[in-house]
């Protein structure tokens, strides 16, 4: 597991590095460690999978990817593995999660589809339905974004 310095480092780094020649030096100064130490720790946490990627997060709206639909699928339990794998392999599907059932809510598999238009999202959902033979699904378009951040510690 990570120590308290790693934790502080992640907390500082998750706000995004400064765009400057030596960003890790700045990050280290906040924590009282060298840039070499910062780099060593970030690399190690990447190897351990605590950091999935150290990378740029894209503003997809600026890239023209303006439509975002969550599609909730009703999948038979014995079919989850197969359907989840097919859905996850689609380029337009950015997230695919199995979730617990709720009362009066029969959907157990959730995908997020990003695309250039609502029509596109609907078409993709239909294609995925055909590909998986899952006929019961609900497309939920986002009409307003109240918050969008990375999960933070």
């Amino acid at each position: 597991m990570i120590d308290s310095l790693d934790f502080s480092l992640l907390r500082a780094a998750q706000n995004g590095i400064e765009l400057t020649e030596k960003p890790y030096l700045l990050l280290g100064e906040e924590l009282g460690i060298s840039d070499e130490e910062v780099i060593k720790r970030l690399k190690l946490m990447t190897e351990q999978g605590i950091i999935r990627r150290f990378a740029a997060t894209m503003g997809h709206r600026a890239l023209g990817i303006v439509a975002n639909a969550m599609v909730a699928w009703k999948v038979a339990p014995q079919d989850l593995e197969r359907v989840g794998t097919i859905l996850a392999s689609s380029q337009e599907v950015t997230h695919c999660y199995e979730r617990e059932l709720a009362h009066n809510w029969p959907y157990n598999l959730y995908t997020v589809i990003h695309s250039r238009s609502k029509e596109d999202c609907l078409r993709i959902a239909k294609e995925l339905s055909d590909a998986t033979s899952v006929e019961e699904y609900k497309v939920l378009f986002s009409e307003k974004e109240y918050k969008k951040t990375s999960a933070r510690i």
Binding site: L10, Q14, N15, G16, I17, L19, E21, K22, P23, Y24, L25, I39, M45, T46, G49, I50, R52, R53, F54, A55, A56, T57, M58, G59, H60, R61, A62, L63, I65, M70, G84, L87, A88, Q91, V93, T94, H95, C96, Y97, E98, R99, E100, A102, W105, Y110, H114, L140, F141, S142, E143, K144, E145, Y146, K147, K148, T149, S150, A151, R152, I153
Partner: protein, 149 residues
Amino acid sequence: MDKTDLKILAAIQESFPLVRRPFRVLGELMGISESEILVRVENLQKKGFVRRIGPILDMRKLGCSGILVALKVSLEQADQVAAVVNEYEEVSHNYLRPNESGYNLWFTISAREDRICEILAEIKERTCLDELILPTKRIFKIGVKFDII
């Protein structure tokens, strides 16, 4: 945005170098100077193409669980309730997704399980709204990367 910008975006959404002078290394890959790439990335951030450069965390490895929640709230009240939900920094995403079920507000919480329970209880107390609570069981795919080139 020109070709070089697109190349930069494609590269840094995959990974950003963990070396002392990351922009110099990136610049070498793109065939431009450190100062030029810095200016370009700054511009890309200013225009909203790049949100931030940093670690994308596996919250599960950090002891956190994820949960999707939907609240049954009218469209008239949604803004007000969304503001309450947004007060919690553990709420990472929060969207209005109008649909006939009436569960119009959808948000995710990422935190330790006891903290999730605490937040849900507080939101319940503050809004008195009917909710769907949908904990994550299995992740088939996570990660937003886009085809740029």
